[in-house]
Point group: C2
Chain length 343, copies 2
């Protein structure tokens, strides 16, 4: 009664089905598909096999292949909030594109900072025999990842473990702070304020160090009253900026810990009737496109190299000969200055 001859339920065609249609053995199909040269197959047969493949719409079953070859062609990415955050989506993109270039797929899990999810996610990925794992965080900080992480090659991104026993890809905060400050100095600024984050974190110390080093390298004094701290949001930065601009000897430039704060600084500067960059120059950090490019004038800022970090992490994993383990090197990725119009 049924028009469809159904070989066995209606599952997708297998190599056997192809072989049957082409009148050859499954082995031959495999050889044709994989272009195996160690065994000779006539051109005529190859053509017949390909014809059968197209006729049936066959495509390989990646699980069967992986089971046999012991290569899952899969990388895992576990992150706390990266997926959620506009901050770091480019990191995923970098990772995904690098994986893609190697015909690997990326399994992504966002833990929302919950360690139970993190633990389960790791187990899931181990079960899927990922060939490498990226453990990334939204903010650059120290982490204590689950112990099972040791069972697979892992690269930390934007974070590090206390004993530096795992390879990590982290932004070069010091160079970033240095670059921002140097750019201002080169524009002739001598009184450069730095509005820093107040909650202790590597970025805070690194950027401050960069700021200080740049001043020192160019023979400028470090005026402690020009270094202020507040929570990294526009509101608080607004207040601090206003205070800075009321100094008798007003700073002519402000380096903000991040773009959100630069946004507040902009507001304060404009409110006081000053112009950017003529009266006060501003440099931010993070290169949040949404803020930096939309502000007026567009904000010159230092970019966190998220894309680059994601890419490097994957490339590091791919560079690893099977079976060996990655040396626990901490890779510092430079933070480039993105020049717009605020200085």
């Amino acid at each position: 009664m049924s028009d469809q001859p159904h070989p066995k339920r209606n599952r997708p065609p297998s190599m056997h089905d192809v072989a049957r249609l082409a009148g050859v053995s499954q082995t031959t199909v495999s050889f044709v598909v994989n272009n195996v040269t160690s065994v000779a197959i006539s051109q005529e047969t190859r053509d017949r096999v390909w014809a059968a493949i197209h006729a049936l719409g066959w495509r390989p079953n990646a699980m069967a292949r992986s089971l046999r070859t012991r290569h899952s062609q899969t990388l895992g990415l576990i992150s706390d909030e990266v997926v959620t955050s506009p901050y770091a989506v480019r990191m995923i993109l970098g990772a995904q594109e690098a994986a893609w270039a190697n015909r690997q797929m990326l399994l992504v899990v966002n833990t929302s900072g919950r360690s139970d999810i993190e633990q389960t996610a790791l187990q899931f990925m181990l079960e899927r025999r990922v060939e490498g794992l990226i453990y990334a965080t939204m903010y650059h900080h120290e982490v204590t990842p689950p112990a099972d992480l040791k069972l697979v090659s892992t690269v930390l991104v934007n974070c590090f473990v206390a004993d530096r026993s795992l390879p990590a890809i982290i932004p070069d905060e010091v160079q970033g702070g240095y670059t921002a400050t140097e750019a201002l100095i080169r524009r002739g600024h001598r009184r450069i304020a730095f509005i820093n984050e107040i909650i202790p974190m590597p970025a805070l110390f690194g950027r401050l160090e960069g700021y200080q080093r740049a001043l020192a390298d160019y023979g400028l004094p470090v005026d402690p009253t020009l270094v202020r701290s507040c929570h990294s949001n526009a509101r608080d930065a607004f207040t601090v900026t206003r205070e800075l601009l009321e100094y008798t000897e007003r700073p002519t430039a402000i380096f903000c810990f991040n773009d959100k704060m630069a946004m507040g600084a902009y507001d304060a500067i404009k409110r006081m009737g000053l112009r950017i960059p003529q009266d006060v120059a501003v440099v931010g950090f993070d290169n949040l496109e949404l803020i930096a490019a939309q502000l007026y004038p567009p904000l010159t800022t230092v970019a966190l190299p998220h894309y680059e970090m994601g890419r490097r992490a994957v490339e590091l994993l791919q560079s690893l000969p099977t079976g060996e383990s990655l040396p626990p090197i901490q890779h510092y990725i430079p933070c480039p200055l993105i020049e717009r119009a605020s200085l």
Copy 2:
């Protein structure tokens, strides 16, 4: 010489290894692990098996399991720029969390709008036998996905096909525009301007319709001079806002097509010495946290329900009994008003 007895190279332990150690058959191990009740296994044996599992650190090989059960426990997500864009990362999060709740993993590929990548990505996912596919776009617009998409259950997110032959999850633009306008009306505003996007797209028409309907429902006239269009960036919105505020009968409220434009509107309003919301109220659209929450005063805006759309898409796929196909319903997801302080 070597301390390590190596059963066969150094591959991860298999059920056979566990079985050998526990002194049972591999079948028994499987039954214990999967808590199979159709076959009786004594408690004592169960304990021995679990002990062996822990001793060896065994964990199932998901590929072998999937091969056998024909369930990949995997969903695919193909997007143009979603991964890249802060706009819609929450969509991925929604999808991932829903997948997670069902013990499924999400394979993510970003095509960067390139159809060759899109095509290959789809093939990869089909090879991995994904149990469902989400095809998402960054902007709400019409798409022509690859034909092979028909081979797997697919849900479109934030986009639709011309003939509506595929189920789609899309934001309810009309309701969003209505909600924004209504909120302003309820605050007593009578002259409400709408700065719309200028490039034709569903959002433009939908939000405009919502705006007009709200005015009509509340018996307000639609003044065509109050509806302006420009490219959706802060700079152009700044200019348009300035013009609007120079009308002799100035609008007391501005509904902006999106938050970037609201950012420009803020600048113009402040520049003219007016206060938000006392002199001019503003409502945005998109709820870009970075902008909306950082602006001063914080921006009241309509949120695109990205998280919800991602979640719904996955739940739709999961709701599908194996073998059947999803009805091509277009699901409109409401866009909620996020109240902050700009009206």
